[in-house]
């Protein structure tokens, strides 16, 4: 008949630029990329360490160079953003009840940050010793 439904397709590459919430989402997703690359750098560091003092010092030199530091800063930012954005949504994935009433989301999020601080402090102390 005379029906002709009109289809509006989003751009497969630029859809996420349409709204701030999509940009924030992509930032969260891209953070994994930075964290992944940083993890690879650490693995390379381990490999270089196994190859002896000289190799390891060469690795450290490049890690502490300009590009290395810039990347480390970016990775740090994305790691914190990653942590923050995922902690924010933990109440959705784990709704807790206490005494028949729902536990406020803020408490669940705070508990995660608390745990994060404890674990980070423990790892830092370990690294220092």
């Amino acid at each position: 008949m005379s029906r002709r439904p009109y289809i509006r397709e989003p751009s497969k590459t630029r859809w996420w630029l349409e709204q701030p919430r999509y940009v924030r989402y992509m930032m969260r997703e891209i953070s994994a990329l930075f964290i992944g690359i940083y993890a690879l750098i650490l693995v390379v560091g381990l490999v270089q360490l196994s190859r002896g003092q000289a190799a390891y010092e060469k690795f450290l030199a490049s890690a502490e160079g300009a590009t290395g530091l810039v990347f480390a800063a970016l990775a740090m930012f994305f790691a914190i953003y990653h942590t923050y954005s995922w902690f924010q949504v933990t109440p959705k994935a784990m709704p807790l009840t206490y005494d028949g009433k729902p536990v406020p989301g803020a408490i669940i999020i705070a508990a995660h940050w608390f745990g994060f601080v404890i674990v980070s402090a423990a790892l830092w102390l370990l690294a220092r010793s």
Binding site: Y6, Q19, Y22, K92, M94, P95, P102
Partner: protein
């Protein structure tokens, strides 16, 4: 008393006349307690009877009037003119084919809704003469928010996964499946898992969370889906570890 006029730019499409959609501008007298739907009704009654759209209850419970206003999916009957100082751009919901003007074809959602078995698959058969199932207020509270969905489709309009992947079952349908999975009277989780725990179901969701942000009834479909992922993963391992247990 000067009458302020509000400009509305409205998406128009008549497949019998228009090759592609266009926007048409109307000027509507401003009233402080009017919602966008009141302005659209004014346009239809006073300015242009050819404008087609869906509406009914005007109290945010029937779900008919979902539209995109200045880029955001909203219920037109619950979106106040006073919150828009400038021009108001009105479009049909995203990610559905446009039938006419502000009317989208909802068939895909209706089909998918049926596939998640959104009804009680009874744990134990019960006669009317046996009276009601007992369900404590705490048990009701566990699934109550997921019963609030009015099927307005704002979540489908906001979901980028649904935009990019035709086969994704989508937020509202999955939230409704979760509602039944949590209901103490139901034991249909395994009956639903083929559709719900599939790649087109919960595993098609990457937790963007836009659905929950736009939901006018605070159903929180994103939460429903993540909780289902956890439950489903549990089910998956239980199948190997304790295959004799079924839910």
């Amino acid at each position: 008393m000067s009458e302020r006029l509000v400009e509305l730019e409205i998406f128009r499409y008549d497949p019998e006349q228009d090759e592609t959609p266009r926007f048409q501008t109307y000027k509507v007298p401003y009233q402080d307690d009017w919602v966008v739907l009141d302005a659209i009704n004014y346009i239809k009654d006073e300015l242009d009877r050819t404008l087609s759209y869906r509406w009914s209850c005007h109290m945010a419970v029937c779900g008919s009037c979902g539209m995109v206003v200045n880029g955001e999916p909203v219920l037109a009957c619950h979106t106040f003119l006073r919150d828009y100082p400038g021009k108001i751009r009105v479009e049909p919901l995203h990610n559905f084919p446009v039938e006419r003007d502000l009317v989208v074809a909802m068939d895909d959602f209706i089909d998918k809704l049926g596939t998640v078995k959104p009804y009680i698959v009874a744990k134990e058969e019960r006669d009317v003469d046996d009276g009601e199932y007992l369900q404590t207020p705490a048990e009701l509270a566990r699934f109550k928010q997921y019963t609030a969905c009015i099927n307005c489709l704002l979540c489908y309009s906001a979901c980028p996964q649904y935009a990019l992947t035709d086969s994704f079952v989508g937020p509202a349908a999955l939230a409704l499946a979760h509602r039944y999975n949590l209901d103490t009277r139901d034991e249909g989780r395994s009956a639903r898992e083929d559709v719900v725990a599939s790649n087109e179901g919960i595993w098609g969701c990457s937790f963007v969370g836009a659905c929950s942000e736009v939901c006018p009834k605070s159903v929180d479909p994103a939460a429903a889906i993540q909780q289902t992922k956890i439950a489903s993963t549990g089910d998956y391992f239980m199948k190997f570890l304790m295959p004799w247990k079924r839910k």
